[in-house]
Amino acid sequence: MDCSSCKDENIGKRRRKRGQGHCTFENQEEIKSGLAPIKVALAGQPNVGKSMLINALSGQTRVKVGNFSGVTVDKLEVCFEHHCHLIDLIDLPGTYSIDGFTEEEKVAREFLLNEEYDLILNVVDSTNLQRNLLLTLELLELNKKMVVALNMIDEAKKDGIEIDDKLLEKILGVRVVKVSAKSGEGVEELLNVIHEEADNPNRSHSNIVYSDPVEEELIKIEEFLNQRGFRYKDLTNREVAIGLLFENERLYKDLHDNPIMVELYPMLIEAKEHLYTHFETKDIKEIKAIEHAAIARGIAKEVLKIKSKPKSLTLTQKIDSILMHKYFGIPIFLFFMWALFQLTFKFGAIPMDYIDSAINSFGNFVGSFIESDELRSLVVDGIIHGVGAVLLFLPNIIILYLGIALLETTGYMSRVAFILDGFFHKFGLHGKSFIPLVTGFGCTVPAYMATRTLRSKKDRLITLFILGFMSCGARLPIYVLFTSAFFPQEIAGHILFLIYISGALLGLIMAKLLRVLVFKGEDEPFVMELPRYRLPSLKLLWHTIYSKAIGYLKKAGSFILIASMLIWFASNYPKDENLIKTYQTKIEATKDKEQKEKLNLELKAKLLENSYLGMVGKATEPFFAPLGFDWRLSVALEAGLAAKEVVVSTLGVLYSVGEADESSDTLKEILKKNLNLATALSFIVFVMIYLPCMAASAVFVKEAGGFRYLVYLFIFTTFVAWTLSFITYHVVKLFS
């Protein structure tokens, strides 16, 4: 982006002087030139369309968005330019309350309380204003600059809800902007208001009025502070009084040594006693909650004009009567999952053949330009076949991610959590575990992070331990490769569904075992919102799919590329020159063409066996032999510890090097020739269960809270994988 065209130099200078906060993205030219961005903390309850608003706000220019959608589990930063200024948006996880108790709510709380930022952008769901105001009221008590965005205003209009934003502005004391992330309405105005507020030297103060008993005490304290000429930072004495009365910890810490506290303590004790009697409870937080609820109700009454019950709510209840039906709810859910895997396989298979032959001819085409045998082998067998084997599955991956994104964004996911909680509970899991578990079908990394929605440490650990059983998208290529090689096209989709379902069932059984044997203890309560159904915008879906696809391609182009080269190297070296010489003389000696071919093949196989990779495979073969795996499959599994995509690329390299004729035989056909059904199934079972990739393992250590847990996980998964593969191999062998 080029800021030299900017005409309004004043804003630039002003911003430069402020010099507060930095975009963490290094490659922003503006940072180098010394322009400090406006740092905006985005806070709001879950399901208010924050992610979509971020896309709308930053839509005009270059954006960086995190790579997982749906549940924002970590804070996420987006930098973009507006009117020649950088705006640095920090998207905090959705939180119902600042005092929330889940891990992700703590992330939001920690940031809001302890980090430096210019202002809070409170995103509010216009169709559910009253409840959203509960958080707004808490945010106001932070005494920071704030702007309220009434998001989804278009849906509110459709619902017959009218909001008097000017009146709301007056009551709250902060700027309020009506906006729709979907239609783009009000987005520009919101950006302008953010600018104005950030540049405003004064902070606007909340105009909230509490109930009479609370106000009485507040006024007493405020008057006392005024009499003493007390000042604290940029807070008004009323704000200090509110903080003192409602036990703001930070404030107490700061004022602890202030002599004024000697006189304040008796006043505060008396004030609280009054409140305790009036509210019939000795919990000041509960009193605050009651106050906030009453204020939110009052505000809603004043600023809202509702013609009838919101249409979207009526519609949601109608849909729920089907999807959450007592008897049909679970079958419908299973049908959706089945359909997803069918689509993944069927539609994914269509472009596959084209991609496959394109990769092959590309390999041959490139190969024909390379003189050196060594180099050609590296480029064609190593790079193109290795990376190509992974690229092949891009269509499947895209469909799977699309399905999961739909489940996440429509609001169906929390219904399923409700339907399944009773069932899950029996297995020692929490209904909410369902969300990370489904995310796990996409990628285990965000799924591990999504376990933060679970409050109890034991629930989290159980979920973390069994998450690997939900086969991630990167394992999909392995399944697709093996099922399409060993099963007829018509039933391959069913087999795929079966693989995923049995993985999930196994996970449940293991959860029960873990709950009974290892993580005994109390359950976490189950309280969750069932958000209204919403059709996700195409833009957001596209964005999700696009970033997923790009991420997959990037991985193929970097990590998988390097891994493929390493595998190629390890499978070609060391070269036993003596062996080659002996065979070459033998080959030259024979005249028979067939004999020559045979010797060539023998040489290649021998060379491969004596390579580094062969040595590793041979060394570990005894461990895998009872499962029916040869050293090549063993090596592929070991390489899969780095990333599951590598399994397929390793097989691609190993089998194309070892293959006699380097013809157009696809990997699928080669595997069919080399393996039997029992081995293939046993391999699938092992892949289903064993340790997730390196990246996931690193996140696992972080989320579980210690490296030792990874050791447990490794032992646990390897043991289960080995045992079940062993059983599979021998049972299938018996029957076939």
Binding site: S97, E286, A293, F526
Partner: protein, 78 residues
């Protein structure tokens, strides 16, 4: 009576909430506090979970939690 004892479609006022501070706070963040109006929407198959409406928010609870919430019926459903 307890929230868990409501019948489908019945509306009630929350009289009291027992349980830990945290639990109360969590419920409060959804607007479920003393004096709030609730309606029982549905139960799950095994009756282990219930769905209620607080204001315009749909909320899912386990029976155990609902047992801790005392209510008074104000309107009988169908």
């Amino acid at each position: 009576m307890k929230l868990s004892e409501l019948k489908k479609g019945q509306r009630a006022i929350v009289k009291d909430i027992h349980g830990s501070k945290e639990m109360k706070q969590r419920l409060a963040s959804f607007g479920l506090i003393k004096g709030a109006e609730v309606e029982l929407i549905d139960c799950s198959l095994t009756k282990s979970n219930i769905e209620i409406m607080v204001g315009t928010t749909l909320l899912a609870l386990r029976r155990e939690e609902a047992n801790n919430i005392e209510v008074e019926v104000i309107e009988d459903g169908l």
